[in-house]
Symmetry: C2
Amino acid sequence: MTRWNESDATALVQRLCRRELTAEAVLSDCLERIEAREPDVRAWQHLDGEAALAQARILDQGAVRGLLHGLPIGVKDLFDTFDMPTTYGSPIYAGHQPPSDAASVAFCREQGAVVVGKTVTTEFATFTPGKTRNPHRLTHTPGGSSSGSAAAVADHMVPLAFASQTAASVIRPAAFCGIVGYKPSFGRINRSGVKALSDSLDTIGFLARSVEDVALFAAAAGGDRGLLDLDTFNAPRIALCRTHEWPHAGDDTRRAMVLAGERLGQAGVPVRDLQLPLLFSELLRTQKEIMAHELARSLADERLRHAQALSRGLAALLRQGQAISAEQHWGNIQLAYSARAKLSSVFGDVDAMLVPSAIGEAPATLDETGDPVFGRVWTLLGLPCVHLPFTVGATGMPVGLQVVGRYGEDRATLGIARRLLRLLRD
Amino acid sequence: MTRWNESDATALVQRLCRRELTAEAVLSDCLERIEAREPDVRAWQHLDGEAALAQARILDQGAVRGLLHGLPIGVKDLFDTFDMPTTYGSPIYAGHQPPSDAASVAFCREQGAVVVGKTVTTEFATFTPGKTRNPHRLTHTPGGSSSGSAAAVADHMVPLAFASQTAASVIRPAAFCGIVGYKPSFGRINRSGVKALSDSLDTIGFLARSVEDVALFAAAAGGDRGLLDLDTFNAPRIALCRTHEWPHAGDDTRRAMVLAGERLGQAGVPVRDLQLPLLFSELLRTQKEIMAHELARSLADERLRHAQALSRGLAALLRQGQAISAEQHWGNIQLAYSARAKLSSVFGDVDAMLVPSAIGEAPATLDETGDPVFGRVWTLLGLPCVHLPFTVGATGMPVGLQVVGRYGEDRATLGIARRLLRLLRD
């Protein structure tokens, strides 16, 4: 018997729209999987199976709604939902009921998605973990901050789940859980109704088990049907880029880079090496300072009225941010602009780079979510990134690389990512 | 007897910090003024004099808190407040109580400000008016969207009030009410907790009765003490710029431009004319399209679940926005970036431009808030703007011009604005 929870969204929605399959049947399999696995995986902050079933039945009885008709989705608990509490991963907001949906969630509901529940986020999407475990090995972190979304998708609880990235919170959990993660170009997906942490960095992202699925999800959430056609990129010019953060890469990531070069070479895809300008070596520090400074401002109310309810790690991060003056911050923003202005010449005639997604396999701990070092610079630069899971590390846990495309070229980046993932997995 | 509600914030706070004056005394005069005038002016969406008095007494008994110690402020009802309902100018949010303060409000409270109440905003800070009237003439609009904040400051109800600008919502109400309005460079003031309308445009701003006061207010709200020193700009290079929107200017604004040239010339300030590149003639349309498109996304939940509670004007604007595709929108964003990249050469060796703030005097109507045509382009470009009230129009209502400075040069822009306002008023 087919387990619908194991199918990709793109395959499911075709059957759902043709009425060969009911939303209720898909959701029932997802809920069964959640029931079986949630005690171990702990992906969900809030779950309302009955409400979701009621919605699914309504969809089954009415007209086909749109791109996500009848698909169950998970929503990171950083996104407001009008019908479910939203905690932002903090006890300060225990039981908080927003009055409205985040815009991206509203877009998905309009397109027929069924919100199953809210997935666990780290505290305000920063570094203090929630309760979620890596479904591949329960003693390992799923990564963060989109911990619950990545675990739920990897564990076949839902085909699609919302994520967001300020440092590496889409790409790292995708890497640790062995799924596809897509962080769009900065500014492409509306952020209204998502808790603001760092205005210059916060980016809504998408987790799924195939590149087609993240593209479908983003097309719905961003009202951008252009992303549905990934077919026109047949001879991409690819570079491997070890980045200025390469000394942080562990053996598994180093092997993945070598493997990618070999497999693409065997497939006849010419691959060159690309070096980033020296200026870009400043961007890791710059991203950390911008994030800390903006966090300390965005969370001013929480810091002033609820200091005792913040984790020690977050309190320390906010103190770091407060120590950065407005003038220093402005200098950092200018440096980021300078680097962005150089991107076109950095890419040259390259369409996309393959770069590390994480240091290596998910760390064997639940006390932290792993190092975001390989995500920070790309978030600061605002470039579209897609994590491709294609190999395993020394202990058998998932490892992959991310494709980084040109600014605003999200469709091309996704098209290239789809092609590369096929070649890398062969 | 001194009426403290008529004093500037900068003068008041010096006395308050020296304990020559109590916060209670200042607030009492403000509340008395509000009580007398509110039935006519209608500046307030929510007012809690008793709670404000309790806060003032606590401040009088404790240590000096900071830059705004004991100053009463008004908060535009687009900004979340943990202790007062926040409607965003829409019946959809009647009675809505946010769980936390907007970051900028929290910063001001930390610096000792007393929030008197929430000021009237137009519907979601767009174009459907609230109940507020122009305090100079009750049959005239105060402008929008920061209608209540501008009216309250102009009418001596409070010395300082928060505003925000997506098209011209700081500068236009400042112009119509004859006060100083400051729209900072895009990105300088944290927007967390302010209802998001257009992510590429939304900018928090400040209304007061002097340039020193808006600078003090912004220094507190933005945690940027650099703005407290406006003294180092002695020989600014100024240009008059009639902009591509000049055909919209009415006689009063045309006279103000001529008058400014004459008065600055008489004061020995060399003033030249500056023409904007042809590319900039596209920016008015570009700003309108970006705003409509982003509004339609930001307000997705309201549009989908509360369509009947939107005004006809806003519903039409959202439909315009929905008709703009993601690709068209991205093209508009790129055009804005191109124009921003040219700004440095546009300014050349000019430190600031004087440009129109509005078509002319406040229109004699309460059915609309006036045309934002002279604000839109500067919001899109992200440049710091300060409205200077220095003359009156044909019927005796306030008229002025705005100073537009270089991107990120807010301190210089405010310093120049202060100097120019003195010269223009002579």
